[in-house]
Assembly symmetry: C3
């Protein structure tokens, strides 16, 4: 993985965004008095919580796809995917907290970029096999 | 990772199954009128949602175990584990949506295959150390 | 990854702790009669469930950070991070089940160790670039 420093840098950025999303959940617990283990009780808390949960859900496939993109297409390709994903997630986390209806743009940027990378990797595997 | 094309292919299949499980949640939100950020409100929605959540939970350890299986035992071993996991998950996601009691078979296939790979890797590490 | 056997061993331990946390959820479903797909209904069940969920959430970034720590700083560094994380998580899972207020120490050990590794890797990347 040390052969792909730009890709590793975007992974670290994505991990930092994810930690930031989790810190927002902790802060919202205090603001809206939602004590653990509860995860419901106030609409804004629930939006901030779901934004963090969805970031976790997408991170699960983003990380392996990111390093596979770097391994098959080079460090720059991995980094481009990583940066797009990070921008989309920052947008998603901030818009979702304000209004659940506005989360679509940020969601689409990260979801579609991951789906495109997945399809691209599948095509690369098939081409390489022949 | 490019040295294990069959294993990578099964990872891509597992990621596609996971995206499919997430698309089912989105569709069930519409069908049963469960608006984000809510994750409860209709039994079928809740089953489809929990099936996707549990797939995320298992994917977290499946992905590193998959690539470790390939690294220690070869590409074919990784691919066999990957295919078994994918079959179990498709079964789990479809049966859980229909009836929570029927999810056991699919769950056991993926959970037990991951536990066996984990134990096998632990034994491999111990044997290699001596 | 086979070049870092101690790091791999701590990953296997972390995965085993995670499976143990999930088995506790399954057992608590029976004890407190919380039938799937429900994830609420009894305070102790909810604490055990949230402890497993939070372990999943932290594992998502722990695993790539662990292997990056090994790749950049060597096998011993990865293993030290891995052992600290595992100790913190066992503490977290057991204390959270007893009392949500007591989960802080275990949480902090794993969260802070991951944040420190993330920051350390970012510094390493910057130093290596110049």
């Amino acid at each position: 993985m040390t052969a792909y420093p730009l890709t590793v840098a975007t992974f670290l950025l994505a991990a930092a965004i994810y930690i930031w999303a989790a810190l927002r959940v902790g802060k919202a617990r205090g603001t809206h008095k939602v004590q653990a283990p509860a995860v419901t009780g106030h609409p804004e808390f629930e939006r901030i919580f779901r934004a963090q949960q969805n970031t976790a859900e997408q991170l699960i496939i983003f990380v392996p796809l990111l390093f596979l993109a770097a391994a098959y297409w080079g460090d720059a390709a991995g980094a481009i995917y990583g940066v797009i994903w990070c921008v989309g997630r920052i947008l998603y986390i901030t818009t979702y907290a304000a209004d659940a209806q506005k989360r679509t743009a940020g969601f689409m940027i990260t979801a579609l970029s991951s789906i495109l990378v997945l399809l691209g990797l599948a095509i690369t595997l098939v081409v390489r096999a022949f």
